[in-house]
């Protein structure tokens, strides 16, 4: 590993060679009491005003400094500069990394160490209300791209010394910094170790977002064992239950592990409303999940294979509508479903000015015209529309749901209600066999714990009960080794 040279010229040449053809590389040469020195920084990452006021001006106005380069560095460090974030560094690799993180580096001739200063000055977005986790009653601030600001947001809400932030880094090229956050004495040391190990094992070259790390933290399966949140209040709540949060630089979402299946249905609003309403909303979301996953499959299965399940009047109405269309129910539903997914994707990616056009074309032109032209039946359209709306009630599950409903649709078409039920067993087997950091994904439902289930799964208990006993995630039934 390259070290800082005692010759200033060598250091200059090294850094110039490393940043060859990089126009953002800045070097300011100085003379300090007859000794050559140079200040290095990267344009755009540092605040020039801070450098001028806190480094260059004090250096220029410093009294005559005694001794060689080494003594001068010590004198500057102790008597001239008073930056909060200031340290000595002797490894060139580290210096390069610091330069690219918005630090300024001062090298003095005759000294084999450099002085580095935190003078970051890049623009960053301020906290805004999260777009993907909208709450009715929760706080309106969300995480930003700077993991340091995100740490501060968590710290502001949890003023305890037990709250720890451990620094780590991923990405062979990007050297993306991240913080592993947990409550000491509450989070399981086994989980913390596992998180560190899995992050160390991550062999990414570039990590541009927290999502890059998810596949290194989970072990596959249909449903993820890694949660994500854009809200500091939600993250604080999860940390309090023994979870570990991972704050990644450049991402306004924080990763949470272990993450259980039931958490997909929990929102902060559930806890801010009265228990009976929280419970009602929870059940509404469970129902929405089942509707979203099974409705198209069951519709196709029943209309194709088991019409006897339907009451006569409804059956006649569906049969009448289907008689007007050229396609079988399966093809119709599949077509509408794909159309809906395309419209959704287009609405998401299209420029904002065109979003309204996409909605009009999708909703009115395609939907209304397709039915009036007799290409698709109104019941099929209604089923797909209901499915789509129900899916948005549990937005965290959108990705698995999109594929699951397609799978159930095919199963329902080929094997009727039985196909859907067999699909359900397979889904249950997958869910029951999945774990998140040693905690069964379906816990506390399977394995079952009545107290926990009626505390915050099937019912949302009042705060008197919730605050009486803390439910650590590692104490969930069926958890391996951890928490025992």
């Amino acid at each position: 590993m390259e070290k800082v040279s005692a010759r200033l010229q060598d250091n200059k040449e090294y850094l110039q060679a490393e940043f060859q053809n990089s126009m953002d590389f800045m070097m300011r040469e100085l003379e300090l009491s007859g000794t050559g020195a140079a200040l290095f920084a990267l344009d755009g990452l540092v605040s020039k005003q801070t450098i001028t006021l806190s480094i260059l001006n004090p250096l220029m106005g410093a009294p005559i400094m005694p001794g060689d380069g080494e003594m001068k560095l010590k004198f500057i460090e102790q008597n001239v500069l008073g930056s909060v974030e200031q340290k000595r560094e002797e490894q060139m690799e580290q210096i390069l990394l610091l330069l690219m993180s918005g630090f300024a580096v001062l090298c003095i001739d005759g000294c084999a160490e450099a002085l580095v200063f935190g003078v970051q000055g890049f623009d960053s977005r301020g906290p805004e209300e999260p777009q993907n986790e909208v709450m009715q009653r929760g706080a309106k601030d969300g995480f930003t791209e700077s993991y340091q600001s995100n740490m501060a947001m968590i710290r502001r809400r949890m003023k305890t010394t037990s709250l720890k932030f451990e620094k780590a880094q991923v990405g062979g090229q990007s050297h993306t910094p991240l913080a592993i956050c947990y409550l000491e004495g509450v989070a399981s040391p086994t989980v913390i170790e596992k998180v560190k190990k899995r992050l160390e094992a991550c062999d990414l070259q570039t990590a541009l977002g927290a999502g890059y790390l998810v596949s290194f933290l989970e072990k596959g399966g249909i449903f993820t064992g890694v949660g994500m949140s854009e809200r500091p209040d939600v993250v604080c709540g999860k940390i309090e239950e023994g979870r570990v949060a991972i704050l990644v630089e450049g991402t306004p979402s924080v990763l949470l592990v272990p993450f259980l299946f039931v958490e997909n249905f929990q929102t902060l609003d559930d806890y801010l409303t009265r228990p009976f309403y929280g419970t009602f909303i929870r059940w509404l979301k469970y129902l929405a999940f089942f509707l979203s996953a099974f409705l198209p499959g069951l519709y196709v299965a029943i209309t194709t294979h088991h019409p006897e399940l339907l009451p006569e009047s409804l059956l006649l109405k569906i049969a009448e509508a289907e008689a007007q269309t050229p396609f079988p129910v399966m093809a119709e539903t599949l077509l509408l479903y794909f159309l809906y997914e395309v419209l959704r994707e287009a609405g998401l990616r299209a420029p904002r000015s065109l979003s309204a056009t996409v909605s009009i074309v999708g909703g009115l032109v395609v939907g209304d015209t397709a039915v009036s032209a007799g290409l698709v039946s109104a019941p099929s359209l209604l089923v797909v529309a209901l499915t789509a709306i129900a899916g948005y009630a549990v937005p965290r599950l959108y990705e698995p749901l999109a594929l699951l409903r397609l799978a159930f649709l095919l199963a329902g078409n080929f094997m009727g209600v039985w196909g859907v039920m067999l699909g359900l067993v397979l889904l249950l087997l997958n869910l029951c066999g999945s774990e998140s950091f040693g905690v069964p994904l379906l816990s506390p439902v399977a394995p079952y714990n009545g107290n926990l289930v009626f505390r915050d799964v099937f019912a949302r208990a009042g705060w008197q009960k919730l605050s009486r006993r803390d439910a650590k995630v590692q104490d969930m039934p069926g958890s391996r080794e951890i928490g025992q």
Binding site: M421, V425, L426, P440
Partner: protein, 366 residues
């Protein structure tokens, strides 16, 4: 290494699901008489007999709590002992093959779906194989969920058909002697694989197993009793003419918005069947690991057993003479008694001798 333990509640709930799946396929021809009400008495007697049959398994488990029966046989009897897990392997293949075949027969005779019944069997075995490969904890947890669905489904059917119950359909017990009761006992013992499951899986079960077994026997007796009582009370003599009277009961259910619930009932049956098959494929894995003396359950064994079960099911359903042999109650009864009583007794005796020769502390527990 990850632990492979399930609770006694999970194990016996899974066994409950397996038992219900078998009971659903019950009919008057198999019970050997027209009065299905007598089958309730048969079931209670079968449960009593079951306690006696299982004694050697409990005895062996008490002596060797960490070993399954196959492993104990191999350790105590050496090379010849390998025959024991092999016989269990074959037993699981035959018993589950016949359960699957019964379901196929039901599809072919009663439902006549638009798709091949063999395809359904393949999908069922595929799902069970997936579960067996994921491990015993996965199957046990899934079984709990299926148990809840099963109770809800059966509760719905029972509740809806209860108003059709007519006491006039009930006939006096033992009017034609005790032959039907005797046949019923044979049938209920023959159609249960819990003894073999216990022999293979008890070391992986933690908690109060004795209580679990008693609850299983009591719970299934209540369930089977209620089911048969409703079948007889609602269908009367019509039940005897049906190949699958429980299905016939489900087909007459009618809720305001739904005309018939038989498709849902069949779906629940299929879910239970997946659990039963998955559990027993897992048992086959345990058998093969005992033969090979490896600590990890054989994954290849799961594939082999699943394919064999499928082959047995297809043969039984499609070839009449195979059906006559493999669905014969007396043959299945002998197999169950052999797997549940004779083989465990043999291994228990071998273990007693083995330990006499070798003091307890010198026995290798690896």
């Amino acid at each position: 290494m990850a632990k492979r333990k399930i609770s006694a509640a999970q194990f016996f709930i899974s066994m409950f699901v397996s038992r219900v799946v078998v009971t659903i396929a019950l009919n008057g021809q198999y019970t050997g008489g027209e009065n299905m009400l007598e089958s309730i008495v048969s079931y209670v007697l079968a449960m009593g007999l079951g306690f006696l049959i299982s004694l050697p398994i409990w005895g062996l488990h008490r002596r060797r709590p960490e070993w399954d029966l196959g492993r104990a046989a191999v350790e105590d009897m050496g090379f010849i002992g390998k025959l024991v897990p092999l016989l269990y392997f074959l037993y699981f293949v035959v018993v589950n093959g016949t359960s699957l075949a019964l379901f196929q027969l039901f599809l072919m005779d009663t439902v006549n779906p638009a798709f091949s019944s063999a395809l359904v069997a393949v999908v069922l075995v595929g799902a069970a194989l997936y579960g067996a490969l994921r491990g015993i904890e996965t199957i046990a947890r899934c079984a709990t969920c299926v148990f809840v669905l099963l109770l809800l489904g059966c509760g719905l059917v029972f509740g809806i058909v209860a108003w059709r119950f007519s006491p006039e359909n009930l006939e006096p017990l033992f009017y034609n002697g005790l032959t039907q009761t005797y046949e019923g006992v044979l049938l209920f013992i023959a159609r249960t694989s819990i003894f073999a499951d216990m022999a293979m899986l008890l070391p992986m079960v933690k908690g109060r197993k004795g209580l679990g077994f008693a609850s299983w026997a009591g719970g299934t007796a209540v369930f089977v009793g209620a089911l048969l009582f409703l079948v007889v009370g609602c269908l009367g003599r019509y039940a005897y003419t049906q190949n699958f009277p429980v299905y016939a009961l489900a087909s007459i259910t009618q809720v305001r918005s739904m005309q018939r619930l038989d498709a849902v009932f069949t779906g629940v049956w299929m879910m239970g069947l997946v659990i039963k098959l998955a559990f027993d494929i897992y048992c086959c894995r345990v058998c093969l690991s005992a033969i090979k003396k490896t600590p990890e359950e054989s994954r290849g064994g799961a594939w082999v057993s699943a394919l064999l079960m499928l082959a047995v099911a297809l043969c039984t359903a499609l070839v009449p003479w195979t059906r006559d042999i493999l669905l014969d109650t007396r043959l299945l009864f002998l197999c169950t008694v052999a797997a549940g009583f004779l083989l465990p007794l043999l291994v228990l005796v071998a273990d007693l001798f083995h330990r006499k020769k070798k003091p307890l502390r010198e026995v290798n527990h690896d």
